[in-house]
Point group: C3
């Protein structure tokens, strides 16, 4: 059996194009399973997985939990609210405690960039990064690429524009790494205040005008304006953001080509996307959610077989 | 096999007397299961059910969760606190996301009347309304009728008084629909400020005096005074409410007939019921809780077989 | 098969030395199970256990939940936050409701000392006390003794010093009972403001100087300074506490004997223990966590067989 080059999925940066290929082929098989009446496989029976979420999450946690249950794993959930974390325990102590209870894999979300990388040097269990601060969110990038591959046949040679708040987005960074590794061209687009200063160093094109970005790309991956992360008044108002960077169906229909619209969710309808755009035939937003379960099954399955 | 006339359980208003009959007969069988040493059946193996609670609940959620597990379903829980709902996502987006992960049934509680009805026009999965605002709470009404039937042999021809805060109660409305559909006579009783203005239009008797209501009825279904729903000072004080509408054991013992005491819980002991009444031989309050699991198993089982 | 002398595990005070022995021998067997690739046994299949936590907890709840799942029990979780408890329901009503849903065992944490004892006189299901206020925490004491037995061969004749906040600690009280019952000598050590006035009546030695306590004992069980329980300024500052009662590796290394270091977690690193002490070869802190799952499996298994 083919194997991943890594024992953990910390970030896209740490894996190879061959790893991505293997994950996609494994996910293809699990997608078939998910479309059967019996959606479960016994692959991870007797494997215990702890979902350790130091930051709130709904869709990512639900997606991992479903993936784990479809694989017949034993699942335990640990969330920071009401936990010993609030009592001042260190991250390493918390995780070591969980591991002492004989847990095989850790799926972790943490607000500090690098938290899962730090842990991976200290503990034996496999770690899957489910988002570390504004750093990486590798399973999101994998499911995004997988969805593009499903829609357009392949990722190589395609032009993808990531539009919105690039600075605060772990989704953006992981996507840039994943797409470039697969031979796609990547651009970012947003108001200058939401683009990191040195983003050009990553080899991405930069657009400040959303219509130009749409004209250029095959796929528009529109990010959520994360209101909760923006203390600093990085744009005048939501209304103004929607006016200059919001995308509606008319803008997509008027392009003289096919375009694929993506969004990692949850959508602020009327801000970064209008409802008619989000629900249009251009959109593969719900396919992304569906593919998320298959991708996470593939990642968990492949890491488990690395022991 | 007999089937329900509906694909969703949105409210009692949407179902027929035959549906109620079928649910009761199915619940009879599940009650037997629950009294065996092995309390589980494989009926919903490979069916995934999401409990989507936008409003807090303990007993209803626990009862559904147990019903689902007894049926061997795969269960995922989604609660609004700490979820993308707080990030401004629409109800339809949230539910579509959950469904994209290949969920077969949705059990939903929501603070807006009509929320599950709205969803049922948009999505494919079966929906069970576990309470929508002050509108309906159909499984509660079904388990209430089922408990009366168990205690008194049948519901038809019986006189049921619903006592307390009728205006803010989805339990009252669903009970009125269910009881009348089965041929019972229904009265409501409470202070005028807690009775809806046009409640008489539903064909119910009205009592403002609790002793007269008790004199009239075979079954007193006493509702909880929902402190958390009453901003508007609808009665002077809890002490005064207890004095005029509270029920104690002596009042029940002094009746020259048998009477059955019900309460959907949680009880405010000393407000709508004294402890000696709640714990008396008149009370079937804990039978209601027990029957709740069997009724919910029956509903989930019958809806699942409608695909 | 041997049986416990009790139907509930309310506290160490209610059980016998033979019970402790039986629990340890059963835990020995479950520890073997936990070290196999297949960590599950079907012992409690078709037994439903409710974890009813009126107080927040992470590690204890996780440990019980894992123990239950390893035994193949059906598990339901009930936590006070967002529950009917907040709506003013009594403890007995809440638990009776849960039991009416056909639950076989209750694992309960409650802030009131004696809460599980009160319940045990009212209900049929087996109860495990997972901590009642500042009173008892019997499974913690059992796993502590079990860890000492594993490390030192036996508990009888050993000298154990419990160091820190004795007044607010249910761990201390349960440990004193358990250790004395097994023939160990027990001392407590802490600032006078954190030692109960009549603690000497329990037959324990008292130290006000931590170096003297360490000199005396074979095992130092260091308690957490529970900041959240101390309104009354019982010591001047954390820094001062660390200075006079904190333990570092050097203090342990300089003893002219072997010493075993324990802590029930979560550790305040830098307060009651320095990091170099907690992570030293003296420490069996993570063994305690590991043993917790085996001990809880043993307790649940043995109580279930008492019906």
């Amino acid at each position: 059996m083919q194997q991943l080059s890594v024992r953990h999925l910390l970030g896209i940066k740490e894996i190879t194009p061959q790893d991505i290929q293997l994950i996609f082929e494994t996910a293809d098989q699990f997608k078939e399973v998910l479309n059967r009446p019996i959606k479960k496989v016994p692959s991870l029976r007797d494997v215990t997985i702890a979902n350790v979420f130091f930051e709130n999450s709904t869709r990512t946690k639900l997606s991992f939990e479903l993936a784990e249950k479809r694989l017949s794993a034993d699942v335990i959930n640990f969330s920071a609210s009401g936990s010993s974390v609030k009592k001042g325990e260190t991250l390493l102590d918390t995780v070591n405690n969980i591991l002492s209870m004989k847990v095989d894999m850790i799926v972790m979300r943490h607000s500090s960039p690098g938290a899962p990388h730090f842990l991976s040097r200290k503990i034996q269990a496999n770690i899957v990064n489910a988002g570390d601060g504004t750093h990486e969110h590798p399973t999101q990038a994998l499911l995004d690429s997988f969805s593009i591959r499903q829609k357009l046949g392949e990722v190589a040679g395609k032009k993808i524009a990531i539009i919105g708040d690039i600075t605060h987005s772990r989704v953006a960074l992981s996507n840039i790494f994943a797409l470039q590794m697969q031979g796609a061209e990547v651009a970012v687009c947003g108001p200058p205040t939401l683009l990191p200063k040195h983003i050009g160093d990553l080899g991405v094109k930069i657009f400040w005008n959303v219509r130009e970005a749409l004209q250029w790309c095959d796929v528009a991956n529109v990010l959520r304006i994360q209101l909760e992360r923006q203390q600093g008044k990085l744009f005048p108002s939501l209304r103004e953001y929607a006016l200059y960077f919001g995308i509606n169906k008319k803008m997509l229909d008027e392009l003289d080509k096919e375009i694929v619209l993506m969004h990692p969710g949850p959508i602020n309808r009327g801000v970064e996307l209008t409802s008619d755009a989000a629900d249009s035939h251009h959109s593969i937003i719900l396919d992304q959610v569906e593919n998320g379960v298959a991708i996470r099954m593939a990642v968990l399955y492949l890491l488990a077989s690395k022991g």
